[in-house]
Symmetry: C2
Amino acid sequence: MSASSDTAAHVETQNISFPELVELLRQVFLRNGTSPEVASVLAENCASAERDGSHSHGIFRIPGYLSSLASGWVDGKAVPKVEDVGAAFTRVDAANGFAQPALAAARPLLVEKAKSAGIAILAIRSSHHFAALWPDVEPFAREGLVALSVVNSMTCVVPHGAQRPLFGTNPIAFAAPRAGGDPIVFDLATSAIANGDVQIAARKGAMLPPGMGVDRAGLPTEDPKAILDGGALLPFGGYKGSALSMMVELLAAGLTGGNFSFEFDWSKHPGAQTPWTGQLFIVIDPNKGSGQNFAERSEELVRRMHDVGQERMPGDRRYLQRAKALVHGIDIPVAELTRLRELAGVQG
Amino acid sequence: MSASSDTAAHVETQNISFPELVELLRQVFLRNGTSPEVASVLAENCASAERDGSHSHGIFRIPGYLSSLASGWVDGKAVPKVEDVGAAFTRVDAANGFAQPALAAARPLLVEKAKSAGIAILAIRSSHHFAALWPDVEPFAREGLVALSVVNSMTCVVPHGAQRPLFGTNPIAFAAPRAGGDPIVFDLATSAIANGDVQIAARKGAMLPPGMGVDRAGLPTEDPKAILDGGALLPFGGYKGSALSMMVELLAAGLTGGNFSFEFDWSKHPGAQTPWTGQLFIVIDPNKGSGQNFAERSEELVRRMHDVGQERMPGDRRYLQRAKALVHGIDIPVAELTRLRELAGVQG
């Protein structure tokens, strides 16, 4: 580790390696109510987001995780129950625990089914997802598989044409292998903006672009604080994004047996922040698709996208940050690192 | 049939029943180079779009179908070859024919696999899709299944951040059963506007809303003629719609073995209008999803969408038109009906 200072914002930072950050976060989770299995999965996930520059899903989320655990809303020691219900269908009851350990428990069976049947589905229910979605799908593409995942969250998005919020931010993530580089991966909220980015803007005192949300009276606003204070988000892309958000509710909750975004009541758990819903995965083995090599075909698409002037592929910014972190480590504000060490019970 | 005149636009129309329109279009296709099997499938598809008010995919498309057939670009008598490649994976080589007969040929196997394995995929390659996508998915939902389909078309959309077009309009269609009414069905182009709607606006001399497309110089335009004359469309919803359009290329072409939207060359077939690409289906049996009844869960979602003020569900406008047509028949301009009868070789 080395100390430095961010001259632009005058925030003193300290440098930490990725493995050090994973271990620190693992200790934080372990000391705050999770099992060793859950602590390992969440620490890896959260540290990956921080490393890749997904700051709204990095260590920024730790207070939310911990207050949710402390409130008794989510079970940090839940043991997911994997159910094999068909040649291409796996279910998991996450038992009121986090979604990522449920995925980890079912993953070997899901991959085996996808490779033998050609496509497979994983339906996770009674799960809490409080992270970015891309870490869930990227590893499938690194194994040569194509993966799609959707997860619903909590009511904060007004359906197109409606007056009041109903949907969650309901992201869709997709990953596909390519022959000449890192997988093609996107992770997009079907809301016009992600909740985490609204929170970060509010913290900074920054305004948002128009079209992102409404205030508590249902009127358009560019003030993130007005959105968070009883307002709501809008779907991206008008009625189309709204239709996709509805699809996410149907797949991630309706089909899995999880809660819709409007169904759970956390009012008796002050501090609870993690949506108690469901998550769906569809994983395809592209080797069954045709006589052609899929990864070479996707590489050809990327090449042509560059040719017409698209310089950055979805995922590229994360890969760049990741490569930097591998060499230089991750810079974290000293105050945040100190707080994490306190939470982990380790000396600074 | 009965004759009437549309007083608003002073276009004289004639009334025809849905079965009469299907039969008329079947004769048109039969007399213009298709096999009886292909004629039946395309006639039903095209008449359904006209009946449901999807005018940009109804009889408006007939000249495009016929000029493509006449050019030798598409094989109207192709016999699709169905390949069973896994417990949940079916492929079809459409053999340079239309996509809908390929779907019809593979559909029984696809449904059987979805019901036994829980999910199944259908990868159609070397196919021409020149129709709306919702007629492909709606019937699955009427059987209690959840269906998703994507199809790529021809280069006409500029990827977000790029300078020149590459993607097709690349629609995504989704259908899910609901207990209390017609299935929830949406069919959305990942372009900001569908090609057919640009053509219809150009025909009418109407302008488009901003953000739909660019002219041949790559500059934003609201003139549909400028878009059609060497210009291009934009994706819906900025980088998010663009990412989804890319996903459609990867699934509908990369995975199936079909052509990407930029790969086929129809310059030696003047009159060719049908994109020679691929199409992907994912069909899920929601009965394997949880202990709950999916159709009742989706009905609950619809009820809540109505509660927050969304009056019209995706698909409702089509169902309303369909119900009207069942009672009153379909009004078609006399000039168009006369032309169809000439093409069918029948007396008016």
